[in-house]
Amino acid sequence: MSTARFPLASEGMNASAAVLTMDGLNLLFRQSDIRALESASALDSNAPKQESVGWISYMRQRWPVYCLSDQLDLLSDVPPARRTCALLPIGTEFFGVLCDDAAIIKPDARKRHEVPVAMKNANTPILELLPSGDKLLCVSNPSRLAAYIEHLVHKQSLPVELPCLA
């Protein structure tokens, strides 16, 4: 198993990590991948970028914020439980993800597992799986999550095929 794909391994087997909870989904990132946590009430929902729910200000700029369901679908209506906005980096830029809760944990990275081939979609942002107590932590990283969101945005912007009338 390659450790290069596993974001936690690069900072030691038991490095601190951040869990972003979205209903039943627990997305696990390196702690350093979470650049800031803001209240969702700080969101500016005027003229949001395509498929995003608004903007958040950070480092004197504003960045798009997305809301995901626990099935990893993009939501346009923000559930009341999404009270926190986590800012993640992609290169020199950032994007926000709304979550119910953000917690710092020290996961036992030795218990990580690959996503089984039969259930691994090509665009999935989930790199590996880590059972922890009665939960399953889904290991991700900002670039994979950003690519996945971009894929969803592109998919939703495609024109709906019209039925053939011939």
Partner: protein, 147 residues
């Protein structure tokens, strides 16, 4: 002399199939499973088994049959190449499996010759007047979902 060489697996309703006796390793009653978001409808969950995380396959959903309550999981083992260490997976079952004695004379056509069973099966036999596909576990568990 009778020689049990297959397990009959019931997936709910009329949906059923078989695997070889050596392919079924363990039956888990009332398993604790975890949902994996973004996975295909027919394989949404994983189960911990002997420190491994196994994909849970819902064959009924995969063949387009209505998914029923599946209180059992059959842990199965398969090889992608002869001699290699086995890979493992789990199949959702509506009832405990039953052993069968199957002979070559029972060979028959698949229930849907051009349909999804063709993709999931290596052969088929007749049992009590109905076709029973024999699952190709390697193909079922080794192929990534189609986009």
């Amino acid at each position: 002399m009778s020689r049990m060489n297959a397990w009959l697996l019931e997936f709910g309703g009329d949906c059923r199939a078989a695997v070889g006796t050596r392919e079924l390793l363990h039956l888990v009653d009332a398993p604790v499973t975890f949902a994996v978001p973004g996975s295909p409808e027919y394989c949404r969950r994983v189960v911990m088994w002997q420190e491994r995380l196994l994909p849970v396959m819902d064959i009924a959903t995969r063949v387009g049959s209505a998914s029923r309550q599946a209180p059992f999981l059959a842990v199965i083992g398969y090889q992608q190449q002869r001699g290699e260490y086995p890979h493992f997976g789990a199949l959702m079952l509506s009832s405990p499996p039953r052993q069968l004695d199957v002979s070559d004379e029972q060979a028959c056509r698949l229930p849907d010759e051009d349909g999804v069973w063709r993709e999931l099966s290596i052969s088929c036999f007749e049992h009590q007047g109905s076709p029973v596909p024999v699952l190709n576990l390697c193909r079922i568990f080794s192929n990534a979902p189609r986009p």
